[in-house]
């Protein structure tokens, strides 16, 4: 089936540093998402991105977070500065359209903030 790739698979950084998580979505998809998951528990929606803009974001999407997809390259999640509570697995997803379309998830990036 369609594949979403995420780079890197693991990242360890010191608190206060900047980190960029990269996502290569399915090629013909138009909607992109980031989710946060802690300890294999609930998937928490962070943000939805379409046509160069954030369409919706949750309370978890703090001011230190930003997303972009310059010129059809990677869809990125940047955290600057990082905090201890940002340690989690971050999943990228993409879908052809919104709402009832299937979201395809990547394998996740495991972020550890020390």
């Amino acid at each position: 089936g369609p594949k979403v790739l995420q780079i890197p698979s693991h990242q360890i950084i010191d608190m206060g540093q900047m980190v960029t998580l990269n996502c290569d979505p399915v090629s013909n998809h138009l909607y992109f998402y980031w989710y946060k998951q802690i300890l294999g528990q609930q998937m928490e929606f962070l943000v939805n991105f379409y046509n160069g803009k954030v369409m919706e974001k949750s309370k978890l999407f703090k001011d230190q977070f930003s997303v972009e997809r310059p010129d059809g390259s990677y869809f990125t999640l940047k955290i600057q500065p990082t905090a201890l509570e940002d340690s989690a697995v971050y999943f990228c997803a993409s879908s052809p359209r919104q709402g009832q379309d299937t979201q395809y998830f990547g394998p996740g990036t495991r972020l550890l903030v020390l």
């Binding site: 609930q42 998937m43 929606f45 999943f91 009832q100 299937t102 998830f105 394998p107």
Partner: protein
């Protein structure tokens, strides 16, 4: 407030039994309900989904039963196999939504 609730955090069944995973939701506007399966170290993968105009969706060993009036649904896994051991997320969205709301997940253990 939890918009999508999964009644069991964990469920254990024997191989060959039918596993039943329950889910309920709050928002009447939700009209699309996917179930995702997640194995450790991997991202969630769509298993089966139902739209609110239907009350049942079947795909092989997996069946969703949906009750719009009661705002609940269940995933039935017939003839459970050890390879079905995973976390199952019930999720919901509406047609115009930019996001899917996930439940907290049910860890299914199928014992051989």
């Amino acid at each position: 407030q939890q918009q999508v609730r999964q009644s069991s955090q964990s469920l254990t069944v024997w191989e060959g039994e039918t596993a039943i995973l329950n889910c309920s939701y709050e928002n009447s506007a939700f009209d699309y309900f996917p179930w995702y399966q997640q194995f450790p170290g991997e991202g969630p993968a769509l298993l089966i989904a139902i739209r609110s105009v239907s009350d049942k969706k079947e795909d092989g060993r997996f069946t969703i039963f949906f009750n719009k009036r009661e705002k609940n649904l269940s995933l039935h896994i017939k003839d459970s196999q050890p390879g079905d051991s995973a976390t199952y997320f019930c999720a919901a969205s509406d047609t115009n939504a930019y996001k899917v709301i996930f439940g907290k997940g049910t860890h299914l253990h199928v014992l051989p």
